[in-house]
Amino acid sequence: MSIETKEEFRPKIVAFCCNWCSYAGADLAGSSRLSYPADVKIIRVPCSCRVNPMFILRAFEKGADGVILCGCHPGDCHYSTGNYYARRRMTLLFSMLDYIGVENGRTRVEWVSAAEGVKFSTTMNEFVEKVRSLGKNVRLEDLRCRN
């Protein structure tokens, strides 16, 4: 192994997963042994609509390189309508982040059902790959605490 690969950039990624579908999908990925990079850390929330844009900005501020939100497929929300609100909120938030010049590859929403362990794992692999290619998040980070 060369030195370069040792110092390979490992992004910090926060994944918000709804308790009913996506968290269970992540569990299924686990019990099916479908690996994805350890860079992804999951936070359990009851529903995708619980995710406040503040949480996402906070994650970036504290040094996250990517944030992904996973919820039930539209129409399958455990609370009937939560993910529809989340969908609008995240569309607008992501559009705003894009507008102020934050690479849109750092944010993603994916609908993952409890049965989609495979999708969970491929989504995470893709997302980590994308964020890795974008490199460290320097635009939204609180640099003061880093250096």
Binding site: N52, P53, M54, L57, R58, F60, E61, P74, G75, T81, Y84, Y85, R87, R88, R89, M90, T91, L92, L93, F94, S95, M96, L97, D98, Y99, I100, G101, V102, E103, N104, G105, T107, R108, V109, R139, L140, E141, D142, L143, R144, C145
Partner: protein, 324 residues
């Protein structure tokens, strides 16, 4: 203006209203400020001219708690804010007597100063009864003139129209001022590369001194306690301590008013640092219109806001990346 004053006095006298909410002259010819008028003699200072940009809707939140009705003077664009506040149960329609005042476009003193006009002693041509064509300015260095339109606030160039959305009676004439497209400035930024966008907002926002003027003037930012002042999010802060916080503050502020912001433009008007804050709100409005259909906050008092509504086939957040 005299018509307005006379009518206000009349309504005060007959007890219809307990006070009048309008503008009084400031210490300079171009800085009138919102004020209550309760007695006949108070009206000596009453003004309504091209510099009365202040949106009085927000003052009605507190006025709604007072005894009796308050007469409030609302410009056409202010009525949108008032409607939105009714929708959010923040103002009491029964406690307000609304006089819809005419508007010929409001002036931006920074623009006048920007033309190199300094040492201003008085300004004429800004009265509501004037034609709003030319301003004549007496300065220490002699008389100067400029076109009214050139001195107008940005928001008046993209005016939503001179129709009052809610009122009890109308006084004064209006004049259409719209001569630009509302979303052009947003589209211009959208067309930039990510680096340019970032540089643009970095430059603008680093001017922010967190004076909170934008928040205090905004009719949608009417929370009893702002999240940035409470401990609910571990986000309370009084000043910027790092380069990110001003962005966080302005993004969250814009998000909190998204779907509720009427685009009244007060935030940009009051910013002492001249940051074009309306660019945030208007971006959300543009996206909302594009994604979920045309929506104008404050158009009515009962429709569902775009963020408290949905359709089964809304666009996916991935649209942001697809759009490129």
């Amino acid at each position: 203006m005299q018509e307005l004053i006379n009518r206000a006095k009349e309504l005060l006298a007959d007890g219809t209203v307990a006070r009048v909410l309008g503008w009084k002259a400031g210490d300079l010819p171009y800085n009138p400020e919102p004020a209550y008028f309760e007695k006949e003699e108070d009206f000596e200072n009453f003004v309504y001219n091209g510099f009365c940009g202040a949106n009085l809707s927000k003052y009605m939140i507190e006025a709604s708690k007072l005894e009796g009705k308050t007469l409030v003077c609302l410009k056409p664009c202010d009525t949108y804010s008032f409607n939105q506040l009714i929708k959010e149960h923040r103002v009491d329609r029964e406690k307000a007597y609304i006089i819809g005042v005419g508007c010929k476009g409001k002036l931006d003193i920074e623009k006048i100063k920007g033309m190199g006009i300094k040492g201003i002693e008085s300004i004429s041509g800004a009265e509501i009864t004037d034609g709003a064509d030319t301003l004549t300015i007496q300065t220490l260095y002699g008389e100067k003139t400029c076109s009214y339109a050139d001195a107008m606030l940005e928001r008046c160039h993209v005016c939503k129209g001179k129709e009052h959305k809610i009122y009890d009676e109308l006084i004064g004439e209006s004049k259409e001022t719209k001569d630009a497209e509302r979303f052009d400035s947003v589209a211009a930024i959208e067309a930039m590369s990510p680096e340019e966008k970032f540089a643009f907002f970095q430059k603008e926002l680093s001017k922010c001194i967190r004076c909170n003027a934008c928040r205090n003037v905004c009719p949608a930012c009417s929370c009893r306690k702002c999240v940035f002042d409470s401990n609910k999010f571990d986000s309370s802060q009084k000043a910027n301590v790092d380069s990110f916080e001003e962005k966080m503050f302005h993004i969250i502020r814009a998000f909190h008013v998204a779907g509720r912001c009427t685009d009244c433009g007060e935030c940009s008007r009051v910013c002492p640092q001249g940051i074009p804050l309306h660019l945030f709100n208007r971006k959300f409005i543009k996206d909302i219109n594009e994604f979920y259909g045309e929506y104008q906050a404050g158009e009515d008092t009962d429709s569902r806001g775009p963020l408290t509504d949905f359709t089964f086939d809304d666009v996916e957040p991935g649209i942001v990346a697809e759009r490129g």
